[in-house]
């Protein structure tokens, strides 16, 4: 009895942390795609929604007749927020399940973990989240925003519209905020901001005691110059951060906070009335007024059976990535990786904000940049929209990478071509 109970606990624990859920068993005449999002662990909070969105997109496509006359079948695995497990699950999807393409990953760490697998086994990954750039792979498509499609336009908006002169760059301590802040600092200094007017602050994952930092921000902002906070604070740490801001009375009119990782989903856990006016920069908001968006939201509510579920930017990126893949496969007439890689460049599909997204030779896409202010109902109101911007994989503001470009069209096929030396192979992979 004792042993069985003990074993039961251990086995259950092990089972729960690594369970892989498979869709219906493979049928011969389906085309399989992999969905690689964490359904347990710390990232489940963000990634589960994307898994649902992918299943919805597949279902909708199948209603329209699938692709190449075959139904699409989604193979869902759970990498459990564990970066090495992402690589393992990716390998399993490609080698065992023989999927045609994989849609997945959220954090940059997980993407970096699977990158070598996709290059080695020559498969395709669509990555739907905004990221720090400084990477280009033959086998990965980055359908989220690069820094020039999110961070830089947001800073421009604050500088021009709100006249901000003093900057707090606050972020969680990992690769995306660090790289983004490095780019932003170089950019601000190129615009004539003094080093004294930039304060950079990092906090651990899941940081929940923001008292000292919010006080620091208030003190930094009381120097007589208009101050703003640029936040790359990740997921879970945001709710206590905004609660502390509200409680200490930091109003958006005095010190606005612009965030790159806070969307409708994150605000769902908050009373937003004291936060009205704080900003976020994305390429899509649920409140965007377009026909495609209205239809998408309706499908989402029907699919989840819950009309309170919000939509967010990474879902739009997944939508664009999936549709671009479908179109490229139709054009190529096969799901073969090399053929799809050839046809997908230049493919244009509608986005949800009423425009179009084109897959560029550097495996990034064109996106409009929207700046939104938080409203009392937890949605954003767009206060500025730019025309579509091409994602820039290698930042123009970092000395190491300003000469690099990526172009995966034949015959160049290079992810880091150095325009100064005229050779392929400057930095990175």
């Amino acid at each position: 009895m004792k042993i069985s109970v003990k074993l039961g606990g251990v086995l259950l624990a092990a089972a729960l942390s690594t369970t892989a859920f498979h869709g219906a068993f493979a049928q011969e005449d389906t085309i399989k795609i992999g969905v690689l999002h964490s359904l347990s662990g710390t990232m489940a909070i963000s990634e589960t929604t994307l898994k649902d969105a992918m299943l919805m997109l597949v279902e909708e496509q199948n209603k329209k007749g699938g692709v190449l006359g075959k139904q699409i079948e989604a193979v869902v695995v759970d990498p459990a927020s564990d970066w090495p497990l992402f690589a393992e699950k990716a390998r399993q999807l490609i080698s065992q399940d023989k999927v045609a393409a994989v849609f997945g990953c959220w954090t940059s760490s997980s993407r970096k973990s699977v990158l070598p697998v996709f290059e080695e086994l020559n498969s395709i990954l669509f990555y739907p989240v905004q990221y720090e750039g400084e990477e280009s792979s033959r086998n990965i498509f980055y359908t989220g925003a690069a820094p020039n499609q999110q961070a830089i336009p947001a800073v421009d908006y604050l500088m021009e519209t709100e006249g901000v002169e003093r900057w707090v760059l606050a972020g969680t301590d990992y690769v995306y905020p660090q790289t983004t802040n490095k780019i932003l600092k170089a950019y601000l200094m190129s615009k004539g901001v003094a080093e004294d007017d930039i304060m950079i602050n990092y906090t651990p994952f899941g940081h929940s005691d923001w008292q000292t930092i919010v006080t620091d921000i208030k003190n930094f902002g009381s120097a007589g110059k208009k101050t703003a906070v640029v936040s790359t604070i990740n997921g879970d740490a945001n709710v206590p951060f905004y609660k502390e801001l509200a409680n200490q009375g930091v109003k958006a009119e005095d010190i606005p906070v612009v965030a790159f990782s806070v969307g409708e989903e994150e605000l769902a856990g908050l009373d937003t009335a004291p936060l009205v006016g704080h900003l976020a920069a994305w390429n899509y908001f649920q409140s965007v007024d377009s026909e495609a968006n209205a239809e998408f939201i309706e499908q989402w509510h029907a699919f989840t059976g819950n009309d309170k579920r919000v939509t967010n930017d990474p879902m739009e990126a997944a939508y664009i990535g999936f549709n671009a893949w479908v179109k490229a496969v139709e054009a190529a007439g096969t799901t073969d990786t090399d053929a799809v890689l050839d046809t997908i460049i230049g493919v244009t599909v509608p986005n949800l904000s009423g425009g179009y997204a084109t897959v560029m030779p550097n495996h990034h896409i064109t996106k409009p940049v929207l700046i939104g202010e938080i409203q009392a109902d937890g949605q954003f109101e767009v206060v500025q929209e730019t025309p579509a911007v091409v994602g820039d994989e290698w930042s123009d503001y970092l000395p190491d990478s300003k000469d690099l470009i990526a172009d995966w069209r034949k015959p160049m096929e290079c992810g880091n071509f150095n325009v100064a030396t005229g050779k392929c192979g400057g930095k990175g992979s």
Binding site: A13, T42, T48, N247, G269, V383
Partner: protein, 534 residues
Amino acid sequence: MRIRFVSLIFLILSFAAPCLAQSDPKPLINQLANANFKQAEDIIGQIAATGDARVVPALEAFAEGDLYARKADDVVFITTASGSKLALVDPLTGESAGEVAKGAMTKIKVNNNLRRAIRDALGALTLMSPDRNARLQAANTMLAAPSEDNLELIETALARETDGEVRARMEEARAVSLLTSGRSIEEKREAIERIRNYGGRDAIGVLRGAYGSIDASLQPDIDKAIGAIESEIALWDMAQNVWYGLSLGSVLLLAAIGLAITFGVMGIINMAHGEMVMLGAYSTFVVQDIIRSSAPQLFDWSLAIALPVAFLVTAAVGLAIERGVIRFLYGRPLETLLATWGISLILQQAIRSIFGPTNQEVGNPSWMSGSFALGGMNVTWNRMWIIIFSLSIFFALLVLMKKSSFGLQMRAVTQNRRMASSMGIRTPWVDAFTFALGSGIAGIAGVALSQIDNVSPNLGQSYIIDSFMVVVFGGVGNLWGTLVGAMSLGVLNKFLEPWAGAVLGKILVLVLIILFIQKRPRGLFALKGRAVEA
């Protein structure tokens, strides 16, 4: 310059009848219908320049985003939602203008810049309002944006003001505005003195700003004032740090206090402790959800109602875990660790399946929102209540352990099980209820933590390490050790944080604890005597 004009107009108006208004604000307000942000800012200035106090509600509604234009004829109204429709009110007269469907109206967009412009405009318009709070707010607005153009207006208002606090604010607003004006050196010297007494970082900003343009004979006064304010701030910063430390300590105490019983007193390595905290937070969410939908007037009481609910829910779960799993594993710490870790994953995934993986919104009742100033310190209400709450739980628990018969049995069983058993104590049930008590207290902690942290399935994970750290550091088996351990870790953390940053600060604390445990393996307050060896 425009503001001076406003002030002059207002001065005239405040003594003359309102019917003398020079221009009618109504067409100006209607112009907002088709204005972009830049144009709207100009229009706000013009509306304020009419000096007509009737525009105040319209401007306030604009800042709140309640101003809409009728699509058919671009006439602007203040609106309130009424079901799926919008109730219209005339922006000047306040007369009702019926209800229309939302689709017939366009919202007039507002951004931070416009809100700021509106706030400044309202400051000038409401400085002599009959409402005391409006005057106080207006004085604060003026204080934050010094301008010599406001000086005459403030002085007029000051002459009529009777309320002490508002008067003080106005005096300060007058002082900051006077500093950059063309007034006499004597008056300026007095103003510097007043700003010095007002203190704070903003005062330093004002003084520094005036330093360059002011008469050279006053510069030593400013230097002195800045020096005095700075040393004052340094003292208050110290006090603020201690307060933040205690506040962090109280959160640690809350998280650890249930563990002090299950791990400290009973010796069970309970990895599912964090999930009990999480269940407590979800109980709060459920209670609030029911209150929101069925009895919204009780919302301010939601936490009081959630406390017993959370306690009972988590105590019941704790009891089930003890009876179902842990009682078979007493004396085998490694297996207990694995089993409880498994339970914690089951509970997390169960909550994730029931409530979904996203954060749930737990509201702050009004008495837990906002902050108040204590000298140069800013104290937020929620943190203060959490400190009070965690200390009261601690002392209640202490009394229960030392003074009640259940506490006596509990101590007897943990100290010498066989002796207690032969005295007629039903030791298995004491074990079960002790574990349930520890779990229940973790649940209560969850109610408080739901006020400052995410309510998500991962809530517990972030506290489990900290809880063990506190209990081990304080001394296993000693409640006082947990209190002192939590508070000293909190204060230590908060003194390291400004100096080393949040990331390094946390690492340093861990290193210090490891070194400390090397020196004193039993923690701060080690239990002594035979019980320890048993």
